[in-house]
């Protein structure tokens, strides 16, 4: 997040797009509720009529994968009516002319045709967002998991910059991170192209710095993304895969392909706290320990580094991940001798400028938000205050492109996937919790009653859902949360694995798959 969770409370307008906030980030939803209580306008754009839509001043359901068009339409109206922050645009940004040229054709009428959102609603959103003193954007996987994921994010950045809603309190472009420490994992260089703190591996200075600190020779080449790794296993260019705390057999698109790739590995190692479907395919399973069994830090969605403390000893033979990694490294011939998570944290501070001032003694209480470059720095509540990382903020002129797969007579339904409030990701943890699993214990397909009646199915009936990549059986739930022509499935359930159906088409830049859009057929189960 560019800004902090609590700042949302004082926003005058919050635009939530592609985030089922009450289900997936309830404590962020708390702040949205409070902002609303104080009179903020709430705009929700989501193909499903999610919980938060009930409270929205304006709720719109855009057609799947049409976010760029919707945002361009909003920008078009803002510029046409002069609701942009001209001072901010002139002082802090560049590239507005190109943007203006591109969005010229995105009239509310044209955008309405693409997105299914009425022209009046587009104008209303533009007015609420464009005229607010402090407006925040909140988004999640509904924005990123598309072949145009990067375009979607850039479009939201355009909207924020155009209206001067970056670099000040209660504004910003705020992606909500899913796992409690996914921000931390990225911060630590858990990406193919960067060292800790987003220091590019391709920069010779960075390479030298880490080579000397780690007394090792390091590559200046960008590594493989998850999807590249899987195709590498399939084509034999990759021999071994070490999977930690990830369950691609359920979380990655096109499960049949994932399974084939994992089975082709000469060595598959899985490190997890539970025996997952991915672990079932592994040659070696290493038991990790849970949050309650270890010391360390988590970095949350607002860049806040917080201590976690061991409450119980690791169960069975499990060990904290850092100990397992250290032990493997030692046996592979690269010596590591950290004696505690704190020793690792000290090294992080030493080699990572944005974590430079973060040490355990400063993490008592509520922790610290990076960037925190030195011991006296209080941490950073919101980013881009006086300048962007590159200096001026760059507008990107972006054209709308349709999703990789669209409906046709053979596969007439749009399928989108997502999460429900009691389960997390592939359910490895939450489905092991008796109370959570009792609340929702099996997968389901949300379908509009009109479509259901045309198919001749009754609520609760099991149906076959078929895509170009696979088919599954699942029971049905009738609801107008989805409009006719759209169906939804949560992907938490291995018995009705939604990702057997989803499309592995990738965003060309981020290589994120289009998990949120594919075409399916729904049939009565025999």
């Amino acid at each position: 997040m560019t800004n902090s969770v609590a700042e949302l409370e004082n926003s005058d307008c919050i635009f939530v797009i592609g985030s089922n906030t009450t289900s997936s980030h309830p404590l962020v939803a708390t702040r949205i509720f409070r902002a609303k209580q104080k009179g903020a306008r709430l705009i929700v754009a989501d193909p499903r009529k999610i919980h938060l839509a009930l409270m929205a001043d304006t709720y719109v359901r855009q057609n799947l994968g049409t976010d760029v068009a919707l945002i361009n339409g909003i920008i078009h109206v803002i510029l046409e009516r002069g609701w942009q922050d001209q001072g901010f645009v002139e002082e802090r940004t560049e590239g507005i002319e190109e943007l203006k040229k591109t969005i010229q054709s995105y009239t509310p009428e044209k955008v309405s045709e693409i997105t299914g959102v009425s022209a009046e609603d587009i104008v209303k959103i533009a007015e609420d967002f464009g005229t607010a003193d402090a407006a925040s954007i909140v988004y999640c996987m509904g924005i990123t998991q598309h072949v145009t994921g990067v375009d979607n994010v850039k479009s939201l950045a355009n909207l924020a910059m155009l209206t001067g809603n970056v670099g000040k309190e209660s504004t910003g472009v705020n992606p909500l991170r899913g796992q409690n420490n996914v921000q931390g994992a990225c911060d630590m260089g858990g990406l193919p192209n960067v060292y800790p703190g987003y220091q590019a591996v391709t920069m010779p200075d960075n390479q030298k710095k880490f080579e000397s600190r780690w007394s090792a020779s390091l590559s200046d080449q960008v590594g493989r993304t998850v999807s590249d790794m899987l195709s590498g296993l399939s084509d034999g260019s990759l021999k071994a895969l070490y999977v930690m705390g990830e369950n691609p057999m359920l979380s990655d698109p096109d499960t049949a392909h994932v399974e084939e790739a994992l089975k082709a590995a000469e060595l598959l190692v899985v490190q997890d706290i539970f025996f997952t479907p991915t672990a079932e395919l592994a040659h070696v399973v290493l038991p990790g320990s849970s949050f309650a069994e270890k010391d360390g830090t988590f970095t949350n969605t607002e860049r806040r580094v917080m201590r976690v403390r061991k409450a119980i000893e690791p169960v069975g033979d499990s060990r904290p991940d850092w100990q397992i990694i250290q032990e493997i490294s030692n046996r592979l011939g690269y010596a590591m001798a950290y004696d505690s998570p704190e020793a690792i944290m000290n090294e992080i501070a030493e080699v990572t400028p944005s974590y430079g001032g973060i040490t355990y003694d400063r993490l008592e209480g509520s922790g610290l938000q990076w960037p925190c470059p030195d011991r006296d720095h209080p941490g950073t509540k919101f980013l881009h205050k006086d300048a962007f990382a590159r200096g001026k903020g760059m507008f990107h002129a972006i054209e709308f492109m349709p999703p990789a797969e669209t409906v046709d007579p053979e596969f007439p339904f749009w399928l989108t996937t997502g999460r429900i409030h009691v389960h997390y990701h592939t359910g490895t943890m939450t489905r092991n919790s008796p109370t959570l699993n009792a609340e929702v214990s099996e997968g389901f397909l949300e379908i509009n009653p009109g479509d259901a009646s045309q198919l001749g199915i009754r609520e609760g009936d099991e149906v076959k859902v078929i895509s170009r990549r696979g088919q599954i059986r699942v029971k049905t739930v009738f609801t107008d949360r989805v409009e006719r022509g759209l169906v939804f499935m949560p992907f938490h359930f291995v018995e009705s694995n939604a990702n057997a159906l989803t499309n592995p088409a990738l965003d060309p830049i981020a290589k994120i798959p289009e998990l949120k859009v594919c075409a399916v057929r729904v049939e009565k189960a025999a």
């Binding site: 009450t22 289900s23 309830p26 404590l27 939803a29 708390t30 509720f33 409070r34 209580q37 919980h51 009930l54 409270m55 201590r307 403390r309 008592e364 209480g365 509520s366 429900i420 409030h421 009691v422 109370t435 009792a438 609340e439 929702v440």
Partner: protein, 267 residues
């Protein structure tokens, strides 16, 4: 204030009157519940006033029930404010705690907290520190009673609509001790929905609070949707008082009329 509390706890522990004292501890910049078992180790004991009086409270009575079940022969001390003491008295009438096995160490709440809580009696019968301040009326209830029924219904439905069904209100409630909970029953309230069925979910809980809720307000503090549950349960308490002349925990050994009704031989 803390000095007097520490002194009293030390006496109780040193004399062997109690096995442990269930209170609050400040550690690593956080306040949390802790069982103090050594009179010489009370350094970190706090009353839970971080930025404002009473802003860090926990359902110590609920934890006390678990302790009592695991160590039925032992006597424990516990930190109580007025509401907590009402809780102890009520839990004893519901056979969840044995009064002989509990030694309350009381503190009286300051005016600020009493007002914020709209607490009718912001002090326990006996307290080792603090000043007795006047009780405060249920203004939040009066305010809602002042609007017409349709608007009031809308108000509550809008509040219930925010519910994310986290069960936080129930889980933190010191008076929720049932082994099976109606709120989890698919037959009564369909599971899996958010918001949960409205107003059924919240009214089911409200009815179960009748004759039980001791107005500690922990549910209100725990609610991530800021639903003013405390106001709802205050209203329920008013109704029970009007109908049965009973408020939970104000008089020792007085049972809830809803507890008595089910006993054989009572008409």
């Amino acid at each position: 204030m803390i000095k007097e509390v520490k002194k009293r706890v030390k006496e109780l522990l040193d004399s062997g009157k109690i096995t442990g004292f269930l209170g609050l501890r400040d550690m690593n910049g956080h306040v949390g519940p802790h069982l103090f078992c050594d009179g010489g180790d009370l350094e970190a004991l706090v009353l839970g006033d971080r930025e404002r009086p009473g802003d860090s409270r926990y359902p110590l009575n609920k934890q006390l029930i678990h302790l009592a079940r695991s160590y039925p022969e032992d006597t424990f001390g516990v930190l109580v404010r007025g509401c907590d003491e009402r809780g102890l008295k009520t839990l004893s009438t519901w056979n969840q705690l044995h009064p002989d096995k509990v030694v309350p160490v009381g503190i009286a709440c300051p005016q600020e907290l009493a007002e914020a809580c709209e607490c009718l009696r912001p002090y326990p019968d006996e307290f080792v520190c603090g000043e007795k301040v006047e009780g405060c009326p249920y203004d939040s209830v009066a305010q809602l009673d002042g609007i017409d029924l349709a608007a009031r219904f809308d108000h509550w439905m809008r509040e219930f609509e925010k519910c994310i069904k986290c069960y936080g209100c129930r889980d933190i409630c010191p008076m929720c001790f049932c082994k099976e909970c109606s709120l989890e029953s698919n037959e009564l309230i369909r599971t899996g929905d958010i918001p949960p069925e409205m107003p059924l979910f919240h009214l089911t809980r409200a009815v179960h609070m009748a004759g039980r809720c001791i107005d500690c307000g922990l549910c209100n503090e725990a609610c991530p949707a800021d639903i003013p549950l405390r106001t709802l349960y205050k209203k329920v308490a008013d109704i029970i008082d009007e109908e049965f002349h009973y408020r939970p925990g104000y008089v020792a050994d007085q049972k809830s009329p809803l507890n008595i009704l089910s006993q054989p031989g009572v008409e």
